[in-house]
């Protein structure tokens, strides 16, 4: 594969090493402060009253009895949150999701909130609030919601993306398509065609830490929010907009985060806590219970996908067509569109079309979940590709290698690829020892590929050289997966100092300019870019100070290995000045030494992975066990390889849970039946084998070290890799995720009969 030679043999001293994680001691000793660990003097405890109905009109809310209860300091309903969104549909939906207005749209939708002196009082108050509902017909299934007989959830939603625009509202808010070529001709050219409808059920990110915040709004209009979030600047901006506050007057401080995976990119209860605090004139703490996290935060879509792929007998894919239906919960969204963009991105296809259909159902608002929408699409595509290989009689890895996208391929979503790593991951899989290992009884092996875009975004960074020459780095992207370590390594690399002499902190929103949230695998990529630029700016200052100390021109000083040195003999014969010496003299050479940078990081570079899975299925019970699992992924350049491996393993573990067990189960009444970790089973350590990893480094030409994002792609292939392994283990093609024991057993029984 042709690579940018700029990266060839690039030598690093810090980048690529594996120092201890900077947050490790605090996290294992309990010192680390998570969202619910914050407390403010005189704080009240808030609880939220939530709808027991999937779809109902709110006729009346009577809070009078609750208001009279001793210890209750404030109660809010939608009347306390006037619509200030000025026609912005996205913001209005956000407001309505935080607190129902005329209708409740899903089981768990907030209708009122109480702040009281303690939790017991708050709980009593919730029971005293009387809500008069008119129950409406509901729909929770993605396919049922599209039927003409389905209850229409929003009367002002008319399908976008079709011509002419429909005159009747529906639960289909948008259609879109991607692709090129002539699929009809492509299918006519095919010798073999595989066609199925695949379904995946709704899953939750399953982060261990529930949403939690403490809000404190003063009568002068200034406010503070301590919160667990993936993006405190975004939370600040959105909360301020919804509450009519000046953005500068709301300071948000992010806690440590016990997992997010996309679920903490949206505001949920934070505006309620702020509104309660404003009304009560006291700090208010609001923590979701686990049940609330399941019922009312943002799980991923359930989906229904029609997939058709045709190929020649030699394995050349001639056409691919997918129709992807994803729900966005109770609000219009575009999750299917992202599924359609990613579905066929691994392949070099002459004729391809992917169509997206967005669906609204009576479920909580869908949020991003690690490479949002891509795993479900990959499940359908990679299952069909595997079946195609089987029908042709071709090794599934070889078929994928034959059709893999490469530099110069027109992607299925449009643009032509630059240097990419799908081919390299497939070749590595083909040659991996895992592929050759023997299998036991009732065991099967499967593999699958995955793609994710990655992106950058608005970012800024402050580097300050302290008087003793050690360095602090203030960034605005939350550390969800080790970015403090990778940013510290990059700062140390540029400054030529030890990693131990760099401390990276997440600054509050009043200390830095706006930063986009930590999502899209952007933390290390974009904050890394800003850090490198800030360090280079700091080096300019350090060189200027050395020049003053030597009384020579600034441009006669260079920076090497953490020292200022005269640039050539004409500059004078001075011994190098260390960063420590320059910092110690700073007070008399111009004051504090710092480097800053603000940028928009574009060019994150797409990412590919190939996974291999061995599974064993008990034919008597349908229970399956993953016996061996390998992740092969392109990292561009692994800044801290241990964290990169952790990202690969974490994504695979989540994907395996999604494939085998995890599932939102709704009753006929539209209520969630399994809102807890006992009934919604995520895999724990004892459920999984050690997940092996292989890091490939195909440099991203848009980053000085070649870095690509690594956080999300690893969740894309597992659904299909597990399904393909299952198919090879029991000889049955399962098209419905999760492949839980009852579903597997039913399929085995159906085959016997």
């Amino acid at each position: 594969m042709p690579l940018d030679t700029h990266f060839t043999n690039q030598k690093f001293k810090q980048v690529g090493t594996r120092p201890l994680r900077p947050d490790g001691v605090d996290k294992v000793t309990g010192r680390a402060k998570y969202g619910a660990d914050y407390n403010a003097p005189g704080q009240l405890i808030a609880l939220v009253l939530r709808s027991p109905h999937a779809h109902a009109r709110i006729k009346k809310i009577d809070t009078s009895k609750a208001e009279k209860l001793a210890g209750v300091k404030a109660i809010i309903t939608s009347a306390d949150l006037p619509d200030l969104t000025a026609g912005d549909r996205g913001m209005r939906d956000m407001l309505e999701n935080c607190m129902a207005r005329k209708k409740v749209l899903y089981d768990g939708h907030a209708v009122a909130a109480v702040a009281a002196i303690d939790q017991t009082t708050a709980r009593k108050a919730l029971k005293l609030i009387q809500v008069d509902y008119e129950i409406l017909p509901h729909v929770t299934d993605v396919d049922e919601a599209l039927k003409p007989s389905a209850p229409v959830i929003h009367n002002d939603i008319f399908t976008e993306g079709v011509e002419p625009t429909p005159t009747k509202p529906s639960n289909n808010n948008k259609r879109a398509s991607f692709g090129h070529g002539d699929i009809e001709q492509g299918f006519r050219d095919a010798d073999i065609i595989v066609e199925h409808t695949y379904k995946t059920e709704q899953t939750h990110q399953g982060y261990i830490e529930p949403h939690a915040c403490v809000a404190n709004v003063s009568p002068d209009g200034q406010g503070e929010l301590w919160v667990c979030t993936q993006g405190h600047f975004v939370y600040r901006n959105q909360c301020a907009a919804l509450l009519g506050m000046d953005i500068s007057k709301l300071r948000v401080t992010a806690s440590e985060i016990g997992g997010g995976f996309g679920g903490k990119t949206h505001i949920w209860t934070e505006p309620l806590a702020l509104a309660l605090s404003r009304k009560a004139n006291r700090p208010v703490k609001l923590t979701m219970s686990r049940e609330e996290v399941f019922r009312c935060s943002g799980p991923t879509s359930s989906t229904s996908i029609d997939m058709k792929i045709g190929a020649k007998r030699d394995g050349t894919i001639t056409a691919a067509h997918g129709v992807l239906r994803y729900h966005g919960g109770a609000f219009p969204a575009t999750w299917a569109e992202f599924g359609a963009m990613t579905a066929f991105a691994c392949y070099d296809l002459k004729n391809v079309k992917s169509e997206s259909i967005e669906v609204i159902v009576n479920r909580p608002k869908t949020a991003a979940y690690r490479a949002p929408s891509a795993p479900m699409a990959a499940f359908a595509v990679e299952s069909a590709v595997d079946e195609l290989a089987k029908k042709i009689g071709m090794d599934p890895v070889e078929l994928r290698i034959k059709n893999a996208a490469k530099q110069g391929t027109q992607s299925s979503y449009g643009p032509v690829y630059g240097p990419i790593g799908i081919g390299a991951t497939l070749e590595a899989a083909k040659n991996h020892a895992h592929m050759k290992a023997p299998l036991g009884k009732n065991q099967g092996r499967g593999m699958a590929c995955g793609f994710w875009f990655n992106f950058g975004g608005q970012t800024c960074c402050d580097i300050n050289v302290t008087p003793d020459g050690t360095v602090t780095v203030a960034v605005g992207t939350i550390d969800v997966g080790g970015s403090r370590a990778s940013i510290g390594l990059m700062a140390a690399e540029e400054l030529g100092i030890s990693y131990d002499n760099v401390r990276v902190v997440i600054a509050d929103t009043s200390s830095l300019g706006h930063n986009d949230m930590t999502d899209g695998s952007r933390g290390t990529f974009s904050t890394g870019l800003a850090t490198i630029a800030a360090a280079r700016n700091a080096i300019k200052v350090l060189c200027a100070r050395a020049a003053k100390m030597w009384d020579i021109p600034e441009d006669a000083v260079v920076w090497e290995d953490g020292h200022a040195k005269p640039a050539g003999t004409n500059a004078g014969n001075f011994p190098p000045l260390s960063i420590k010496e320059i910092a110690a003299a700073a007070g008399n050479t111009g004051g504090p030494i710092a480097g800053h940078n603000e940028l928009v990081a574009d060019g994150a570079g797409v990412s590919f992975a190939t996974h291999i899975c061995d599974i064993e299925v008990d034919p008597e019970t349908g229970r399956s066990t993953v016996k061996r699992y390998t992740v092969i992924q392109d990292a561009g350049k692994a800044v801290h390889p241990t964290y990169v491996e952790g990202q690969y393993q974490g994504g695979a573990a989540q994907g395996i849970g999604w494939a085998l067990n995890e599932e939102y189960i709704y009753g006929k009444d539209g209520r969630l039946q399994n809102a807890g970790f006992l009934d919604y089973r995520i895999p724990v350590c004892s459920d999984l084998p050690f997940i092996d990893t292989m890091i490939l480094e195909i440099p991203n030409p848009n980053h000085p070290y070649g870095v690509r994002g690594v956080g999300e792609t690893s969740i894309v292939p597992p659904l299909a890799a597990v399904a393909n392994a299952m198919s090879n283990a029991v000889g049955i093609r399962l098209t419905h995720i999760p492949m839980s024991p009852p579903r597997v057993l039913k399929a085995i029984s159906a085959r016997k009969h």
Binding site: T165, G263, M341, V416, D519, D602
Partner: protein, 81 residues
Amino acid sequence: MAEVHLWGALRPIVGGALSVSVEAKNIRELFKILTEQYPAFEPHLQRGIAVSINGKIYRDTWDQALPPDAEIYLLPRIPGG
């Protein structure tokens, strides 16, 4: 004159065409012209549109130049997890 390729959701706005020709020096001007010529483009822009120029995707760098023979695709602005 740049040929700007549209994803399916934008095509009804321009009468079903797969692409439109636009004389624009950078992304900012491209969006300005498209909004002027096709008012229905505005809500899509509000929700977020990324621009791929010769395979590199730009979400926020609206000063990015559009070279005359560049391959240009408009794409939905992708969220992350």
